[in-house]
Symmetry: C2
């Protein structure tokens, strides 16, 4: 196919209707890093002329009170989710993981931390109740004639709000805590679709499939507990008991999935799932002068960048020193996003900074390697720019995200339990830097990811505006969500048909027996 | 959302890489009306600079020997599928349907006509064998360095050819005879996905679900027989017995589905399924002068058009006369695509023609109603132009296609068994002409269908060229196709876990029993 190498590009003109007067969008976001994603989508919607109103709590952690381009609606409530809560959970988890047998950590995440999930969602529940109790606010929202509710259903408030206001519903989604969103919307055979936290890929051994099944049962139990203990109670009180919360969740018009099938394993999907993985990625801008000079000073060796994301303040001191010592032994320059005391073993080649323009660095030609914790944003940016990864996952989906790169030969993962042993970190860095296949594989993923007819962000905007133009997308919602489980799985039909077959066999048996008896009698008579 | 009514359009520029030197595409089409669809796709590929080579039989019915823009590769073989074969089958079916109890016709289609399916596919099998036996031809094909095989897998030859030449594979597909293509590629709960021929929609009663299940079992048996009796034998001989034909079918890179979710019911799908339903539709061109004059002569009443497609030569005379008499009673003008003797009851308002520019007529503002047999092409064109339908289905998927319009309030179906009774046809025409909801609903479907970021044809072209650029699309093929059924359905895992639970229960039971015995003994001793 070298003959097909593109020597020019054709401009394909596509007519997308523009909302001249702008739509009216009500947003119910999820806190923390989820807000960072949502903000990018909202900025793009604003730039297309839509009005954005955001529901937040007065104790909100990431979502501010004032934005130049958005209206905020503040609900007075107790704290929902904050730095302290996350830091405490992370530190507990790191302590556990460092001492744990690998196979048990997924169960610790699933069972040991479940009370934290319930606690977090209960505080969301209080926030939602406070909002729905505020009659004046709800009247104002009804009068505002919104066109749709846009929500991250990791928190269930937006779903309830959309039903209360009787509005079309669009998700910006990856998680329906505690499960990955696909498990709710599409058939998901447990035999090749790994449960998050299992550490499995889509190719599993028998024992991995057993582990996957156990974790699936645990997750389904969690989901059921979470729904009944928190969200169904709110539904019963404010929407009436005829509303099943989980059916409302499934009834969204469009699911804007924050993945694509370059990142994720291929699996069944649904017509109203729209893939916008990597929608936050964009071409690199020039670096600030001091960073550009530092990067250029690396000469032919190039630069390593390291960031463990927004949630993780500090790693344990011994791990930090191991990392610093490993960096010091390399000829590359290193830019490390780091908060805390300067590590004792820090080398001259390493620059510690509070914040870095990650996307612009990843898009710089000198960057050879990205040391990342495996948050979805960072992994997508690494794919977009084609930079191979050494992964240091800490919690949630991070190991599983990085595994998607590792099985494609584009990353190497170290766990917190092994990173500080036997020069593991140094060896991993050297391997990814010197073995060309890591870079080749990552750049292949990058080419696949970028080869789409629409950018993921344009695709997302198209479908949000589609829902506005057509007041929903009911033609894309499958009938399955409205069926009881026994009908959906054809249990009643199979029982009925089995009954019919057994009845027929019984009749035939009786008939043959009568025939035999009659024949025998005749034979006896004849004898 | 009236505020969102579009007052202008934004031009979205999308960069699609162009193949300057053109790709090299080997086409293995299916005969008959399937070729009409394929030809449209090939013409578009040719206009983008690709070279097209088509494998055909010297007895081919629709596929000619010479085309200005395509190269043809002719294989000497017996006849494959022809007008005589189809006409005979259709007449048998019509005779059966007119006398049949409605519930039995689906079984007649499935079981009574199965020998015809086997006969047709056996002749395809001979064609494929003749092709693979021609060593010189196969060497030429190998030397031609094709970039991919494009096939309609309704006939299995293209799949075997692609494997033989070790080339990427793209489908232009709706049927993997005898099943709808989705049933092969994606999970398909029988509880809400109607089997073609069942006459069910996606909302089924209990008895409809029973019928659906029975027909599903029949179809799966047919599939299994067809594969083992025809295609697996060819695989064994030419590719080696380690190649399972059905796994090769599932291993295609991209499935260009000739449906979309305005036409079809929403259902699970897969990442490598690309929807190009209605790719053949285009804006209407002006009519030839004599037709334009006839259409304009209808004044405010408008025009009805009728066509029963390419396959059906003639209906029984009594039905034809009933139709002509009904048309004669209407104030509208009628254009009827009709071959055969002039019906005795023909009115002055009805124009009989051999062939009509169906797309241009459907796009004319004077056309009020389309009397159609329900072939996919006609139904898609009706949706595209928003013209309501009175349906007269004859065989295959036609009833099911029309039902998709009827359940959305955009069509009314008559069966051959009832069309000539009690003025049914006239009443149906009058109902659809006078009840505005038919037109409103069809125009809503038209708006939904046209509101896509890419035209269906551009989408199809993008993905064909994607496969050329990346030499396949393995990242979109799920792992499920490579698993044995018991692993895929987790049967082994469930048995294992059940065994473990039973074993644990047994241990607990034994322990409790020992404990009880010990306690009893101690009690007896104490007593």
């Amino acid at each position: 196919m070298m003959r097909l190498t593109c020597c020019c590009s054709a401009l394909l003109l596509i007519l997308i209707p523009t909302a001249c007067q702008g739509g009216n969008i009500l947003v119910f976001p999820t806190e923390g890093s989820h807000w960072i994603n949502m903000d990018i989508l909202l900025a793009a919607l604003h730039s297309r002329g839509h009005n954005i109103s955001i529901v937040r709590s007065n104790t909100s952690w990431y979502i501010k009170e004032n934005y130049p381009n958005y209206k905020t609606i503040t609900v007075q409530t107790e704290k929902t989710l904050d730095q302290e809560f996350i830091t405490k959970a992370v530190h507990e988890l790191i302590e556990f993981e460092r001492g744990a047998v690998p196979l048990t950590s997924f169960l610790y995440m699933a069972v040991g931390m479940f009370d934290k999930f319930i606690e977090a969602h209960s505080s969301v529940g209080k926030f939602v109740s406070a909002m729905l109790d505020d009659k004046e606010l709800m009247r104002d929202l009804k009068d505002s004639k919104f066109d749709l509710v846009l929500t991250d259903p990791c928190w269930g408030g937006g779903v309830i709000l959309a039903k209360y206001l009787n509005l079309p519903l669009v998700y910006n989604v990856r998680w329906l805590i505690p499960e990955e969103a696909h498990f709710a919307i599409a058939p998901s055979p447990i035999s090749y679709i790994p449960i998050t936290g299992s550490g499995n890929s889509d190719k599993m051994s028998f024992l991995q499939r057993v582990k996957n099944m156990i974790l699936h049962l645990v997750t389904q139990t969690q989901k059921s507990l979470l729904v009944t203990q928190v969200y169904q109670k709110i539904c019963d009180k404010y929407l009436g008991p005829e509303n099943d919360f989980y059916q409302l969740v499934l009834d969204a018009d469009i699911w804007l999935m924050r993945v694509d099938f370059v990142f994720d394993y291929p699996r069944p999907t649904m017509p109203n799932a729209v893939y916008m993985g990597g929608f936050q990625c964009k071409p690199a801008k020039p670096l600030p002068q001091h960073l550009e000079e530092f990067v250029q000073s690396s000469a032919e060796h190039g630069v390593i960048i390291m960031s463990l994301g927004t949630f993780i303040g500090e790693l344990p001191v011994d791990i930090v020193n191991e990392i610093a010592a490993a960096f010091a032994k390399l000829p590359q320059k290193v830019i490390w996003r780091y908060k805390g005391d300067k590590p004792a073993a820090l080398g001259n080649n390493t620059l510690l900074i509070d914040w870095m323009p990650q996307n612009d660095l990843l898009g710089h030609s000198k960057i050879k390697l990205f040391v990342a914790h495996g948050g979805t944003n960072g992994v997508q940016e690494a794919i977009y720019h084609g930079v191979p990864v050494v992964g240091l996952p800490v919690f949630f989906d991070q190991y599983d995200n990085l595994l998607r790169l590792q099985v494609r030969g584009a990353a190497k993962i170290l766990t917190l339990a092994t990173v500080d042993k036997e020069d593991n970190f140094l060896k991993a860095l050297q391997e990814v830097l010197t073995e060309p296949s890591y870079r080749t594989n990552m750049q292949r993923l990058s080419r696949l990811h970028r080869d789409q007819p629409l950018t993921p962000l344009d695709n997302a905007l198209f479908w949000i505006e589609f829902v506005m133009r057509h007041k929903g997308a009911p033609h894309l919602k499958s009938e399955s969500y409205r069926m009881p489980w026994y009908s959906y799985h054809s249990v009643d039909v199979v029982l009925f048909l089995t009954g019919v077959v057994l009845f027929l066999l019984f009749i035939i048996f009786i008939f043959i027996r009568c025939l035999c008896t009659a024949l025998c009698k005749r034979k006896v008579k004849n004898d």
